[in-house]
Symmetry: C2
Subunit: 290 residues, 2 copies
C-alpha cells in the first residue's frame, strides 16, 4: 500500500542519525561512552503474528526470542528487555512463558508498561544488548568473492506451523519456541562481512542482504539444509520463523560455529538474487513481506 | 481487576534484576561499562490514552514527550527513541508530529517496528538516555525532614483537555503537547533525595512517592501553583498529564531551577499522604490509576 510505504519512507528520512539503522536493518547501534549498545524493538499483533488459538506462553517466548535473534545478528550479548503488554486473557500463561524464555537466555526483565485496550491486542518488546566486538555486523558489508553461509536448517518452523494449523499432533516446537542464535552470533561477529537473522524466509532475506550490500547473491538450493521433506525444499526456502543466521565470509575463511556454505557473493548483476543460476526477477513470493 | 494486578505482580516478581525498577518506577537503570543507561517504554492505545478525534501529530508528540519525561525524572540526557507503530490512517500527520517533537528535543529516531493490525491501534515508544549524574534519582529516597517541591504548575493539561472535549476553542496546547522537563531534571538529579514526574496527578503521584520511600508526605494545597481557576484547585491536584517534576530536597537546600515548595516529608504515619493536615484514607479519586 503506497500510503504505508510513504509513511515508512518518512520514518526512514527522520532516522538520519548515524545510529539509526534500526528501521532498515532490524537493530540500532549506539555508541555510549566506550560501549556499543544494540537496541531492537518488535511488536506482535494478535491475528497477524500469531494464531488466535496460540498458547500465550508461546507468544511470550516468541516475542522475546525474535528480539534476541536481532541482537544475535549483531553479535551482541543481551542485557535486558522491556515489555509493552496490553492486558486481557491469557495473562497467567504469558507470565509463565515469559519466565521460561528469560530464564533460558539468562536475560532480565528491566521494565515496561501495561495498558488496557481491546482486540486485536498488541505487544511490544525492546531488547538491549552490548556488542561483543567491533565493527558491529550489518547487512550491508558483503563483498564480491565472499562465501554465503547459514547456521542450522530452514523449514522446521514451517512444519511446526502446519502441525498446529492442521492439528496433526506432530512436533510444533520449532514454530512456537524459536531459538535465538546468540552464542553463534557472538562467535561469528568478528569474522563476518555481513550478517542477519532469517526471520522472513531465506530467499527474501538473502535478497535484502544483497540489496543492502549492493551485490548479487547466488544460492545453491540443494546445499541448503532443510528440516522438511525434499518435496518441500522450495517451500522451506521461502518460509520464515526459523531465526537462523545468514552471513558472508571472505573467501577461504571457515566459520567457528556449525554452519553450511549455501552460496556465494558476486558483483552486482542485473538482479540481486540468483537461485541455482536462475535470476529471481522480483521479490514476490520469496517470503514474508511486511 | 484482580487478574490484572496478579499478572502485574508476576511481572514484578520476574523483574528481580537490580536494574529492574522499570515496572515499579517508570524507568529502568542499567550499568553498562562505565555508563549508566536509562530505559523507558510506554504504550499509547487509541480510545484509552487519546481522543479518537486527536490530531495524529499530537499523538506522536505525546508518545515521545511522555517517555522523555520519564528520562527527565532520572536526570538523564536522551540518546534516542525506538518506535512501535501500528499502520493505519493519520500516518502523514503522525510523521509530521514525530519530526517536530524529535527536532524540539534534539533526539534521534534510532529504529523500531511497523506492523499491521486494527482498531484500537496501539503505539509503543522506547526511550534510551544516559544518566547525567549518580546516584540516579528514584522515588524511594525521600527522608523525613526533607522538603517537597514541584516544577511549574498543574492543571494546564486539564484545561486543555476540557477545551478540546467541549470544543471551546481555548488553548489546548498543554494537553496536546506536554513538555518534558529535561533540563530541570538534569540540574536537579545530583541534589534531590527522590524525584518523579507527575503523569497521573499530583496527589496520586505524591502518594506513590511516599509509598516507595516508606514515609508520609504532607501537601499544602494552597501552595501548589495551578494553571486553573481557584475553584478548580482540587481538580488540578487530581488531574494528570502535566509532566512536571515532583522532588524532595534535604531541609535547607534550595533547588537550582524554578520550583515551588509545596509540602514536607515526615516519618511514616498511618497513611502515606496528608493534604492540609487531613489524612487521605485511600488512593481512590486521587488521580489516574492504570
Amino acid at each position: 500500500m503506497s500510503g504505508e510505504s510513504a509513511f515508512i519512507d518518512s520514518l526512514r528520512a527522520l532516522a538520519h542519525h548515524p545510529a539509526a539503522r534500526g528501521l532498515a536493518d532490524d537493530a540500532a547501534v549506539l555508541e555510549v561512552g566506550g560501549e556499543t549498545i544494540i537496541l531492537t524493538h518488535d511488536m506482535l499483533v494478535e491475528n497477524v503474528h500469531f494464531l488466535p488459538s496460540a498458547d500465550w506462553a508461546d507468544v511470550a517466548w516468541k516475542l522475546v526470542a525474535t528480539n534476541l535473534s536481532d541482537l544475535a545478528a549483531k553479535g551482541a550479548e543481551p542485557l535486558g528487555v522491556l515489555l509493552g503488554f496490553m492486558l486481557g486473557n491469557g495473562q497467567e500463561r504469558f507470565a509463565e512463558g515469559l519466565a521460561e524464555v528469560l530464564e533460558h537466555y539468562g536475560v532480565p526483565l528491566l521494565g515496561g508498561d501495561t495498558v488496557h485496550g481491546g482486540a486485536p491486542r498488541s505487544f511490544g518488546l525492546t531488547a538491549i544488548g552490548r556488542a561483543a566486538g567491533r565493527p558491529v555486523p550489518a547487512r550491508s558489508g558483503a563483498q564480491p568473492g565472499d562465501t554465503l553461509w547459514l547456521t542450522g536448517e530452514v523449514g522446521a518452523a514451517m512444519l511446526g506451523f502446519e502441525a498446529l494449523r492442521d492439528a496433526t499432533g506432530a512436533d510444533s516446537t520449532a514454530y512456537r519456541r524459536p531459538m535465538a542464535r546468540l552464542a553463534e552470533g557472538q562467535a561469528l561477529a568478528p569474522l563476518v562481512t555481513a550478517m542477519m537473522d532469517v526471520s522472513d524466509g531465506l530467499l527474501i532475506d538473502a535478497w535484502r542482504l544483497a540489496e543492502a550490500s549492493r551485490v548479487s547473491i547466488t544460492i545453491d538450493s540443494g546445499a541448503v539444509p532443510i528440516a522438511a521433506p525434499e518435496t518441500r525444499r522450495l517451500d522451506a526456502l521461502r518460509w520464515g520463523d526459523d531465526y537462523e543466521l545468514l552471513f558472508t565470509l571472505p573467501a577461504g575463511r571457515c566459520p567457528p560455529v556449525s554452519a553450511t556454505r549455501i552460496g556465494a557473493v558476486e558483483a552486482r548483476g542485473f538482479v540481486p538474487l540468483f537461485l541455482d543460476g536462475e535470476p529471481l526477477a522480483n521479490r514476490e513470493g520469496l517470503g514474508w513481506e511486511h
